[in-house]
Symmetry: C2
């Protein structure tokens, strides 16, 4: 195993708005040796997720910001390649918080063993992982659509949005997806079986969205913010619920600044339509609901009742470009980096 | 009774921002005669409430807008002065949707008889009426503060805010009131027995508010919006709840427009702190909860456990100026017009 060198990607500079490649730096080092009670992991797949953008800023969100020189955080599927710890054998596959690394030491804290026979291991980073559970928690535990109601979700071809719509259908609701470009919209409608899909890049997007929501919107699963929110707002029905799980359109602090304060209009709609906006992070619900999620969605994955799509790039060194592409909506499915075979 | 003339105040023009006296017109007419099954009411007290501002605009909110020439809407305490309807006798006191009138005909629809022996009849327009029930519903059924938590409310000397804080105290929470001017703040702290009161007109208002909320804010009862919201937002704790019952600071569409879009910051806080914003209108809760409210708060009024204050002006013709004063925060207590003795 010592033929390998360990590689990692660190935060080289804080982005000003959109991240660029120079905000990241690839570093190499000798492979670490597992000490007493430790195991050495070789990362197979690294997950790229929008929340990572927030951690690059020097601003406390629900977690502490990264410091310059810190390894970028992230979850990965990894293989045990050396073990000094009972219960872990070489060859075991685990879900781990390795960060953007090729190899990582662990004392077992926070690891979860994966069984490749149950589901492809990459699903633990997507539809059966944090993004999938985020969709499940936001829709089932907050949005709670009733049969016949309309559920709308943006980034509908992504790992969260795609599950939101499919779970909405299972609940008997209409699912309306919003995605960027006709290819993604086709996928959302034909492959993911949403009732409708609308391209947010089309010039008349607000009118198109209204046209496919003839009875308004009862649950809007918010994961983008920005212009999509402005188009959704007038379509929300009385007592509509908005689980707020992400705001990718505003993470980089850029967007149309036309000097208009949009807050009063949003507050007015909250008041006059008795809306509920509820921010959430999946971790709030893990203890009580993660096992039921794994059981239910795991079975649906196995029998084809739920579909998912992955967008995999090869090589840890390509993580920065893939991450930037994802923030700009240029991925098509759950963004993953294949770090080793 | 025919010595009287009937008077009413109609919407003469739609306000552009703040209403002015010329947006209203006083009209006189002969007293109407009650027909078969009708009663004639003489208004004693007219209630002035912020929601009326919204109805003056040509924009659908939760109710239809007024048309030019329509009598201004409003609730009143009135006395039966002629009756052709079984069950109503001359001298009966009722709560009625008369609008801004000196006299009104009614077929009994929507009337509620008041017993002056139980509580002063004006309380049916304030602490035991729609404003009081709004406070009760928003705090008890949405905000749900726990003992030891901090509840903040603006317009704290007004009919809604004053009850919000007093109910918070009864729930074992800390009550922080926000009001305009030292006289109102003194009243909120000393008479209404809030834990703290902060003057939103003070230059360092955000810092003062932070100083009296050392453990942050768990429930913010939103009835003003605008600059107060901006000061509250950074103080909200994780999982804080914000019942949104009014936005008086933005009803007239005027305010600091410094070209900054405040929506992204609010959405970011909703997300990163798992906040709940819930708009509501009291009517949603009337059927299930109004009797318990009357019983509970009625008893507290009777035994002095809840205090209230009224700001009464004399004469229907002064309703427009009193209404404008209330929108600008120049009232001190529940705004009422004494229309007849």
């Amino acid at each position: 195993m010592n033929r390998d060198r360990a590689r990692q990607i660190v935060l080289a500079a804080r982005p000003n708005g959109r991240p660029s490649l120079t905000d990241f730096r690839l570093e190499e080092a000798d492979l670490p040796m597992p000490g007493f009670g430790q195991i050495l992991l070789r990362v197979q797949y690294l997950s790229l997720d929008p929340y990572m953008r927030g951690r690059m800023d020097d601003r406390k969100s629900y977690a502490e910001p990264l410091q310059l020189g810190d390894v970028m955080i992230g979850q990965a599927v990894a293989q045990v390649i050396a073990s000094n710890r009972p219960g872990y054998s070489v060859g075991d596959i685990v879900l781990a918080q390795t960060g953007w690394r090729s190899h990582a030491l662990s004392d077992g804290t926070g690891l979860r063993k994966l069984d490749p026979a149950t589901a492809p291991v990459t699903t633990a980073l997507g539809v059966l992982g944090m993004p999938g559970f985020t969709a499940y928690a936001g829709l089932r535990l907050i949005g709670k659509p009733k049969a016949g109601e309309t559920v709308a979700v943006a980034a509908a071809s992504g790992p969260v949005g795609s599950l939101v719509g499919q779970l909405a259908k299972i609940a008997g609701a209409r699912a309306v997806g919003i995605a960027g470009g006709s290819q993604k919209c086709d996928h959302v409608k034909n492959e993911l079986r949403f009732d409708a899909a609308v391209d947010h890049r089309s010039a008349d997007f607000p009118a198109r969205l209204a046209a496919v929501c003839p009875n308004g919107i009862d649950v809007y699963f918010e994961n983008v913010g920005g212009a999509v929110w402005q188009a959704v707002l007038p379509l929300l029905n009385n007592f509509a619920c908005v689980p707020v799980c992400g705001l990718i359109a505003q993470y980089s602090g850029v967007g149309p600044n036309d000097g208009i304060d949009q807050l009063p209009a949003t507050m007015r709609e909250i008041l006059s339509k008795s809306l509920t906006l509820r921010g959430f992070i999946y971790s709030e619900f893990v203890e009580q609901h993660y096992s039921e999620f794994l059981r239910e969605v795991g079975a649906l994955i196995a029998n084809g009742g739920i579909r998912y799509r992955e967008d995999i790039v090869d090589g840890l060194e390509r993580a920065p470009e893939a991450f930037i592409a994802m923030l700009e909506g240029r991925n098509f499915g759950k963004a993953l980096v294949r770090v080793s075979a």
